[in-house]
Symmetry: C2
Subunit: 167 residues, 2 copies
DNA sequence: TCTTGTATGTTATAGCATAACATGTCAACC
DNA sequence: GGTTGACATGTTATGCTATAACATACAAGA
């Protein structure tokens, strides 16, 4: 469970790291953020976040649901969608539209507008800071008089590891 | 059909314009682009593009399918998806993931990496040039060693017209 | 205690997408 | 002309994604 230096993880956000630490840390920050805001990180919601944190992959709602059901929570789609929607609303998870999937936010609480890099080979998803991207979008929006509320910025391609083996 | 200055159109890419001209022009360029490449803009494909061009909205595959069926084409989902996939592959249409929908490309043939501004009130979709956005993404990708193949950049918010009435 | 708001659970259904296979069409080649 | 092969279209069937609508439970405050 808290196996350090696990290497079976397909994601690792493209870089080897102690994933147990990484996930635990994010979870702790998520709890703090929720408490600050008076948002209730209930058992299902917390468990859903843990599940997402187990890998740096994006997971489908039904995949999360299956795991939740194993843990004794309801096994109908709304159970998963509600928990995931909560996490997304609170900025504790992100929705990856290209994959119809969800991924834990790696920087809960920090104001950030993330961009996602999705490896089409190993399915790892990296969340990169994209302030420059957001700035460019804001300025494009300004020129057409559009007011932006939410953004999805996703790139599909090859992560460093898969790019090498393919080449 | 070629009614100039039609105003019922919800999109108009956020700006009043002669939509018949705009759509006709795009269609003509799409034909030229296809011919250049040896891509076959067959009747279904061409008709699908025309349907998308009728408004600056994104349309769901099933909505397009319905229209195609009215014109005597097949009425099963793959008919629409194949035509739409062709258009997307050829850069004649774009897929708006946030809406699970498709929109005609307003700049066929031109190398461009579009960003989409989606009005949550009137559902109009504007395709804005986003070279700066792409540049920012490329540089973010470079720092993590990721090689980008495709991108989806979408913003949800209010278009100028809807922003005013809401305010 | 009662009320109110929020969270969870369940049923049912709607909406989006594709696999797999059959048929048709057209051009290149013998 | 007939054959072959590549591509396009049509159809059946199914799988995946998401939400509406309603029922139940539970905690916090009046």
């Amino acid at each position: 469970m808290t196996d350090p230096r696990r290497s079976s993880d397909p994601g690792l956000a493209f870089e080897a790291h102690d994933h147990a630490d990484c996930a635990g840390d994010v979870l702790r920050r998520a709890e703090a953020v929720s408490a600050d805001r008076g948002a209730r990180l209930t058992p299902v919601r917390r468990r859903a976040l843990e599940i997402l944190l187990e890998s740096h992959r994006a997971m489908g709602a039904y995949e999360v649901l299956e795991r939740l059901a194993e843990d004794g929570f309801g096994n109908q789609p709304p159970v998963a969608y509600r928990a995931l929607d909560f996490l997304v609303d609170q900025g504790l998870a992100h929705r990856i539209r290209r994959l119809n999937a969800f991924a834990a936010c790696m920087h809960p609480g920090e104001a950030h507008s993330p961009a996602f890099f999705i490896c089409r080979s190993c399915s790892a998803v990296a969340e990169a800071p994209a302030e420059a991207v957001r700035a460019a979008m804001d300025s494009a929006a300004a020129t057409i008089g559009f007011s932006v509320e939410r953004m999805n910025i996703e790139a599909l391609g090859l992560c460093p590891a898969c790019g090498e083996t393919a080449a």
